[in-house]
């Protein structure tokens, strides 16, 4: 549509303005990045000193689940809120199975039979590996979640097994587990979110397990709940009395 007179069409003007804005921002950001220079300034050394008391040997996991456990805790709350908001929007208290013809096509069948166990094994392996090598709760949860989504898409029974209470329970597991452990320790006199040095490793693994399960179920819940429920829509054209 090149016949538009450039200035009359607001869209065009906005395009120009945003281009100028982005270019300006880019220039400013480049100046900032260059000004940052190359000498290291971070907390690497400090983390290295304290890593042995943290109960795990892989630095990111140590930072994630011990030094900055508060961040991770709130982050799991964000995930819980997103899943819950999507479910509430869709008025779904559970994620029942779809009445799917079992033969979803031979190729998909074969792929599912092969991939799902592999994904679950790698997920658990990643979880276990997390304490001392690249891996961790979220990656494991994501992989297992992917397996569950694959099962659901190809019509096999997956998250639908969970009834309403179980679904809420698993969505809550990560956050509530973390909260429970932290509160119990806090009442026992430790500073909040501090693990007793000798059981630090064990507690972290328990928390990681819960987080992995919550992340997996939340991802499937997010995937399923994203679809609008056909008969819960506002029929009236005007936006209700809201």
């Amino acid at each position: 549509m090149d016949n538009r007179d450039p200035l009359s069409n607001p869209g065009y003007l906005v395009r120009i303005l945003s281009m100028v804005l982005s270019a300006g921002l880019l220039a400013v950001l480049i100046a900032a990045v260059v000004d940052l220079g190359d000498e290291p300034t971070g907390l690497t050394a400090r983390v290295m000193e304290q890593i042995d008391q943290s109960g795990v040997s892989h630095p990111p996991t140590a930072v994630l689940l011990n030094f900055r456990a508060y961040d991770t805790w709130l982050e799991v709350a964000v995930l819980l809120l997103a899943a819950w908001g999507a479910l509430a929007l869709r008025q779904a208290t559970r994620l029942p199975e779809q009445p799917q013809a079992t033969s979803a096509g031979p190729v998909l069948d074969w792929l599912v039979r092969l991939l799902v166990p592999l994904l679950i094994v790698t997920g658990v392996y990643l979880l276990w590996l997390g304490t001392n090598a690249p891996g961790g709760a979220f990656q494991a949860g994501a992989v297992i979640g992917a397996a569950l989504v694959l099962l659901r898409l190809s019509g096999y029974r997956s998250v639908g097994l969970l009834d309403a209470l179980w679904l809420r329970g698993s969505l809550l597991a990560g956050f509530a587990g973390f909260l429970l452990i932290a509160t119990v320790l806090f009442l026992a006199g430790w500073t909040f979110l501090e693990y007793p040095p000798d059981q630090a490793g064990l507690l972290i693994v328990i928390i990681e397990l819960l987080i992995t399960w919550t992340v997996a179920v939340s991802f499937v819940a997010l995937f399923v709940a994203a679809r609008p429920d056909p008969d819960d829509l506002n029929t009236e054209s005007e936006g209700g009395h809201g």
Partner: protein, 104 residues
């Protein structure tokens, strides 16, 4: 031209492109897509900073933790935004916010 600078400049460039796209594209999915890519570009910058701060081969774990948290937060927000956008589309059949002037 250290490794950090290459990826930092790339990240900053991606951020600017995504900002431009968010402002000009009015289709909801494209906006959410652009927001996601903007998030990834910030995470790339953080990881580049982590690389710069590395002490004999181990990169700075704090930005790593930040990026991991950021990724999960970004995906939660995206999923929720998609749920809302699809509900909006199912009700109205439109893929753009009605009087959404150029910006979001």
């Amino acid at each position: 031209m250290s490794l950090f600078l290459i990826y930092a400049l790339a990240a900053v460039g991606l951020f600017a492109i995504c900002l431009h796209a968010i402002i000009t594209r009015s289709h909801l999915l494209r906006k959410i897509l652009a927001l996601n890519m903007m998030g990834s570009s910030v995470f790339l910058l953080l990881i580049a900073i982590a690389y710069r701060n590395s002490v004999e081969e181990t990169a700075d774990p704090v930005p790593h933790a930040m990026v991991l948290t950021g990724i999960v937060v970004a995906v939660s927000a995206t999923a929720f935004a998609l749920a809302l956008a699809r509900r909006y589309h199912a009700e109205t059949g439109e893929t753009e916010l009605s009087d959404g002037d150029g910006s979001t």
